[in-house]
Homo-oligomer: 391 residues x 2
DNA sequence: CCTATTTGTTTGGTCCTTGACTAATCGCGG
DNA sequence: CCGCGATTAGTCAAGGACCAAACAAATAGG
């Protein structure tokens, strides 16, 4: 079971195929730095073990113009599946996807705001079991379960970070769920996973320099630099909710004034509208009313966008990303939010950074974090696929 | 001249030896992922070509306690040298160091503030020629010249970034100097190189998550995440001078209010003291007077520290680094600056980030950027060393 | 002194590359 | 339309790079 050079090569090929879908052998060779002949041999072995399938389709050669077309190969979708669980603001989302990154099942259950993690685990476990049954998946083919937890995540200790009041702080999420499901479980923060998902499936596909900003209950974020997700020393990298956008602004639960989170985020927007619109308001209502021309709702969303935009501008100056992706529930407001956001960001960023940066809504909507959890599992379990080889 | 597998392996070994100085063969094997036997063979070849020397010294084995001690090997210092040029606020610094990262010559010439880049190139070229002569170095053994340019650097186009008024903007620095010296020249921004130097020689040695902040004429910075220097898409990553620390603050040349640069930096500090102390003041004077108890000078430094500290706190929240290194001329003020800086940073950062972060003065002083330029050259020219092999 | 541990070297065999060859397509001119 | 060169994909054989395993050398700790 010691990993030989051949094992590492196979692993590199599998990983590449998972990340990029279908490729030709020559393409793979270029990307992993092996020769075409070696890759041919590896692919032949993987095909023999049903881990890889060769498609009818032909791929245009690399030179663009002339040349023999390559035969498309991809991971056999039947060789494994991964489950993503997203503990959201007031939902639990569950997704099953195969190694080809195709979503097979997506389920969701609504919970009361501020629900207890314990009940969350129970609900999630039921949901996962139901989804497995519905998908008809053999449990032995499930590579693992990924969990998305709201708020920052202490990567070193493997639990949601404490220090900020949160019902999740310090709870060993992976252990709890693994116990209920008897499956391997991985966990990480929602924003990191959202960024991962947007990079693999969504608006940041293939980007090596981008920022993901989640405008949800609170405000969080993550960023990819040099093609790698930044975690920082504690997993706190990218947590931008407490960037100060107005030093004279309202007090924040963190003890400072004018944090981004005191201006943006679902709870702030709703609370601003409550006096005039009552407390039966939902975000969906606010957005439709805004589109119908309601000045108050328009203003609430545009104010949030402006403040978020200032933060985006600052982040742009610091990180100089190619793109900023806005996710989370608030991003459903579309241009009502994004217009002011873009404007404020342009004003707050230097030309060097601002001109190079596009700002757009995430492409995955509410599924982002669950998809990211799946991507995390798939990213960590390529070895498992290979372990089943060479019987 | 195509790079074979063997070439790549040799390169990996040389690179590792350069970055880490002296190591045992077993150590090298662990770090580059080759077997001990292969490394032995590579080292033997390198020794035969005088690129590597074996020392008398023995290194304690990895396990700590028992075991045969390893034989220390290192790059042959005589196998190559690199030159670093730092175009500073009002100096040009030149350094020559060998592949073992040992500084052999350091020279410096003072120029008027805001000097013209053209004269800067002329002065630097003379200085470099003088240093080469003084060192008695055979020009064929010079691997290259690294240049540190003030302000952000557009990595993609290879010139100092425009957009901000600066005499350096858009000037093809490397080409200019290469023409005058007839040597290969590389260039990058001062802050990136300062960070590189502190990582290799200074206060951030070996750290994979840290921020470098240069408090000099203006304010700049850089950061390393996941062990890699962040550049962003245009090379603007880390440029923190225009982080907004007080939205109601004074107008900045960038068009915003309250940028860090309007509060911190040599010119701001000096201008604040000018009305009472006259315009003959130097930073050195201010610092000595402050140490002697002069309230005005103390306050000017502490104000700068406080504002810088707020920015450090915000950066800490966003990047969650292990360490923040303060460089640049102002850092010579020591605790007069750092005390208030640390205090403000602690207040502005979340516990998750703040508790994990140490803040300290850079260890390299005014040589930092020139050393970084040397490190850049050495980091890019390992291939050249090997090219001379196998005659 | 003896055991446990780690380094550096040797050796047979595995993995991978190089270089050649065939296969498949494009673009061109006829 | 066809044939032809140019270009790229995939495969095969020969040789080189690398590894695993075993061994000798050198130390620490009993």
């Amino acid at each position: 079971m010691r990993e030989s050079r051949a094992d590492r090569s196979r692993l590199a090929v599998v990983r590449l195929l998972r990340e990029r879908g279908t490729m030709s052998r020559a393409d793979i060779a270029r990307h992993v730095g092996l020769s075409r002949s070696t890759v041919s041999g590896i692919i032949a072995a993987l095909v023999a073990d049903d881990l890889v399938v060769e498609l009818e389709a032909k791929l245009t050669p690399a030179g663009g113009g002339a040349g023999r077309p390559g035969a498309a190969v991809m991971l056999n979708p039947a060789s494994g599946e991964a489950i993503g669980v997203d503990f959201g603001y007031r939902h639990v989302h569950v997704i099953i996807a195969n190694v080809a990154h195709a979503v097979r099942i997506a389920k969701s259950v609504r919970l009361p705001v501020g629900y207890d993690p314990g009940t969350g685990f129970d609900v999630a476990a039921d949901l996962v079991r139901g989804a497995i049954e519905e998908a008809g998946t053999d449990p032995s083919r499930i590579l693992g379960v990924g969990v998305s937890v709201p708020g920052p995540f202490d990567t070193k200790r493997g639990v949601p970070a404490s220090g900020m009041p949160s019902p999740w702080a310090g709870i060993p999420v992976a252990v709890e769920l693994a116990g209920r499901l008897n499956l391997p479980v991985l966990a990480d923060g929602d924003t990191k996973l959202g960024a991962l998902a947007e990079r693999r499936w969504g608006a940041a596909r293939g980007l090596d320099e981008f920022v993901y900003m989640k405008l949800h209950g609170g405000v969080g974020g993550a960023f990819v630099s040099n093609g790698q997700l930044a975690r920082g020393v504690n997993g706190g990298a990218g947590e931008i909710g407490h960037l100060v956008v107005d030093a004279t602004g309202p007090l924040c639960r963190c003890g400072n004034r004018g944090c981004l989170e005191t201006f943006v985020g679902l709870s702030v927007v709703m609370r601003a509208l409550e006096p005039t619109y009552g407390d039966r308001l939902t975000l969906r209502n606010v957005i439709t009313m805004a589109w119908q021309g309601d000045r108050g709702c328009i203003r609430a969303l545009s104010d949030a966008g402006t403040m978020a935009g200032r933060a985006v501008g600052m982040l742009g100056n610091i990180l100089n990303p190619q793109s900023v992706i806005i996710g989370g529930a608030l991003s459903a407001a579309g241009e009502l939010l994004m217009g002011p956001l873009r404007e404020a960001a342009a004003a707050a960023s230097l030309p060097l950074a601002g001109d190079a940066m596009t700002i757009q809504v995430g492409a995955l909507g509410p599924q982002a974090c669950a998809l990211g959890a799946v991507a995390m599992v798939l990213g960590e379990t390529d070895e498992k696929l290979l372990a089943a080889m060479g019987t």
